[in-house]
């Protein structure tokens, strides 16, 4: 069964309300994500559930134009111009069109509104191209997966229909649903091709269909081209310097590529050089950590559950189960991972890890962040990148970072790992969950992280 499906049922267009390519692309559209019908709705002037239906009716041409325009970004624009985990461990903050309509008021004033606006357009299905009623569907890409976040549409628009979450217990905005990018690509491509074929079948709209087919071919070539893809992935500075970096770093450039996916888009060469300098290291230390990473965790689990499982396994390996530990460097020493401080990377990352195919790894943390935020948030960040290493090492070069711009799914898993690694569930039973001062003091975890972990693990504040 397909996890994402766009089902189209062609209709004759109402002559008074369809223009240009809308005339031949009028249809009923149902969008399904797993078992949930995202397009289930009822008329705005009706509250009766029995009048619900699973489709919206209107022109498909605008959706095609949006997909063609934004295709490389839908697939490869991984960087988000906001902090998805700024509220702590438990809340994601992927903005919907509802947030955009309110001027992203829940987001920090320091964020660049232009970048937010452009990001929102490129990731909100149909925005600025189609007036077909849809819930806010935000598409969030990663390298091999794509996340879908659904929310109600903006208030005050007087839409002709109201959408309802399929399962009454679910509320929008929903957490992202992640699935294989290849699957999403295949389904969107099928949808666009079907619409273009339909438009081509009518003499009236053949001109548009032929033109749009050229645009479609061009944008797909662009998305498939490694050089142009690099610019979307890392920004122009890195894309322009890539050949030089690859010559300098050889295969270690893969470490840099991983780290750059977890930092904001770099705009200064100096920042890039600082990161590159941290990739030159020699280590012959034993790599005990590979024992923990050897058995893959169940990928079907949600990311946070994977993090918990991995942390439990790490604690068992270290023989500390529910015990608190004071000195993180002892732990890393036992695992064979050198830990180093670095400076001049503030705002890019709080901690990072690199490893080579032999399993030699090195971890670093931002000394400036450590001095300004304190020991406990730094312990959390370092633990989080340990989680990244244990979860993502697959025998090749690896680079990953933890910070305000690190990737969504990986960060959710790493946050869960860090929280469980520092404050295991087994220990919570013996503690008073309301006594956060005591928990913080004994387990060396910050109050905010401890309080979210207690909520997430025990379900109580």
């Amino acid at each position: 069964m397909k996890r994402l499906s766009l089902e189209v049922d062609w209709l004759d267009a109402p002559p008074e309300d369809a223009f240009g390519p809308e005339v031949s692309t009028w249809a009923r559209l149902s969008i399904f994500l797993d078992d949930e019908c995202l397009t289930r709705n009822h008329a705005s002037d009706s509250r009766a559930a029995q009048e619900e239906r699973d489709y919206v009716e209107g022109p498909m041409s605008g959706l095609v134009e949006w997909l063609v325009e934004t295709w490389p970004y839908v697939l490869w624009d991984i960087h988000m111009p906001f902090e998805p985990f700024a509220l702590g461990l438990g809340k994601s903050r992927i903005p919907s069109l509802r947030d955009a309509q309110q001027g992203w008021s829940q987001y920090g004033e320091h964020l660049d509104r232009n970048e937010l606006a452009i990001w929102q357009h490129r990731h909100s299905f149909g925005h600025g191209a189609s007036n077909l009623a849809l819930p806010s569907i935000t598409l969030v890409p990663d390298i091999r997966r794509i996340g879908v976040v659904v929310d109600h549409g903006p208030p005050g628009f007087d839409p002709s229909v109201r959408f309802t979450p399929h399962d009454g217990s679910k509320r929008w905005p929903a957490e992202p649903v992640w699935f294989a990018k290849d699957e999403a690509v295949a389904e969107f491509e099928r949808f666009v091709n079907e619409c273009l074929d339909k438009a081509r079948s009518s003499a009236e709209t053949r001109h548009w269909a032929d033109w749009m087919s050229n645009c479609w071919r061009s944008t797909r070539e662009q998305a498939a081209n490694t050089v142009s893809r690099r610019e979307v992935l890392y920004g122009r500075l890195v894309a322009d310097a890539w050949d030089e970096l690859q010559t300098r770093l050889g295969e270690r450039s893969q470490m840099l590529a991983g780290i750059l996916l977890d930092t904001p888009i770099l705009k200064e060469r100096e920042s890039l050089d600082r990161l590159v300098n941290e990739l030159y290291w020699e280590s012959v230390r034993p790599s005990a950590w590979k024992e923990i990473a050897r058995n893959a965790i169940d990928g079907a689990l949600p990311a946070y559950a994977q993090g918990y499982a991995l942390a439990t396994r790490a604690r068992e390996f270290l023989g500390i189960r529910a015990k608190p530990f004071l000195d993180l460097s002892n732990i890393f020493g036992f695992m064979g991972i050198p830990l180093a401080a670095c400076s001049g990377v503030s705002g890019l990352l709080r901690a990072a890890v690199t490893s080579d195919p032999e399993g030699r790894a090195r971890m670093l943390y931002d000394d400036d962040f450590s001095k300004s935020a304190g020991v406990l948030p730094t312990r959390f960040s370092i633990s989080a990148v340990l989680g990244r290493l244990l979860a993502e090492f697959s025998g090749g070069y690896l680079g990953a970072a933890h910070g305000s711009a690190s990737r969504w799914e990986q960060t959710q898993r790493a946050n869960a790992f860090a929280a469980e690694f520092l404050l295991p569930r087994a220990a919570l039973d013996a503690l008073d969950p309301n006594d956060l001062d005591h928990i913080t003091h004994v387990y060396g975890i910050s109050k905010s992280a401890a309080s979210w972990h207690v909520i997430n693990r025990l379900g109580t504040a």
């Binding site: 490389p72 232009n114 600025g128 662009q222 081209n225």
Partner: protein, 169 residues
């Protein structure tokens, strides 16, 4: 020139018009840059021409607000994300708003080489005009979320009242 004006999305559409004959415009050094700047200049000229061209509003029935004296209607053909406020049901206002609309710099072009997306705002309401790709320069206009790099300018325009639009020389 600010480099962020060279938005790939804009260029895609031109490339599409030309059958993607440019090849990879990212990695070809100075020649590619000149090509891109030339393309930007041509696009800007086109936008200016486009903005002077007489444009028509395609106001769809289902965008029109319901009024007190409407007889009521069964579910209309077409489900829309937004409907215009009642005060926008004025042909002169719609024409004025479209005439002074701003071209979205990231919107690219329609199948006839005209700006594909226009924006305007008045009375706290943000409107988009999306080209209908007809031979005539026609735009389907409706309220839309201003997720565009024009949002600051649009916020300024949204402070205007309808009277301000009519009073404008």
């Amino acid at each position: 020139m600010k480099t962020d004006r060279l938005q790939p999305g804009t260029i895609f559409m031109r490339r599409g018009l030309r059958g993607a004959q440019w090849g990879n415009w990212y990695g070809e050094g100075a020649a590619a840059l000149l090509h891109r700047l030339g393309a930007l200049g041509r696009l800007k000229r086109k936008m200016m021409e486009g903005s002077r061209e007489k444009k028509v509003v395609r106001c769809k029935n289902y965008h029109r607000p319901l009024k007190k004296d409407d007889p009521g209607q069964l579910r209309a053909r077409g489900d829309v994300k937004s409907r215009c406020p009642a005060w926008a049901d004025d042909e002169r206002l719609r024409t004025l708003l479209l005439a002074e609309a701003i071209v979205d710099p990231d919107g690219g072009e329609d199948s006839h080489g005209r700006p594909r997306r226009l924006w305007n705002a008045v009375n706290d309401c943000y409107f988009i005009g999306v080209s209908t790709n007809e031979a005539e320069a026609a735009y389907n206009c409706y309220p839309e979320t201003p997720a565009t790099r024009l949002h600051r300018e649009l916020a300024e325009r949204a402070r205007r009242s309808v009277e301000d639009i009519f009073d404008c020389p």
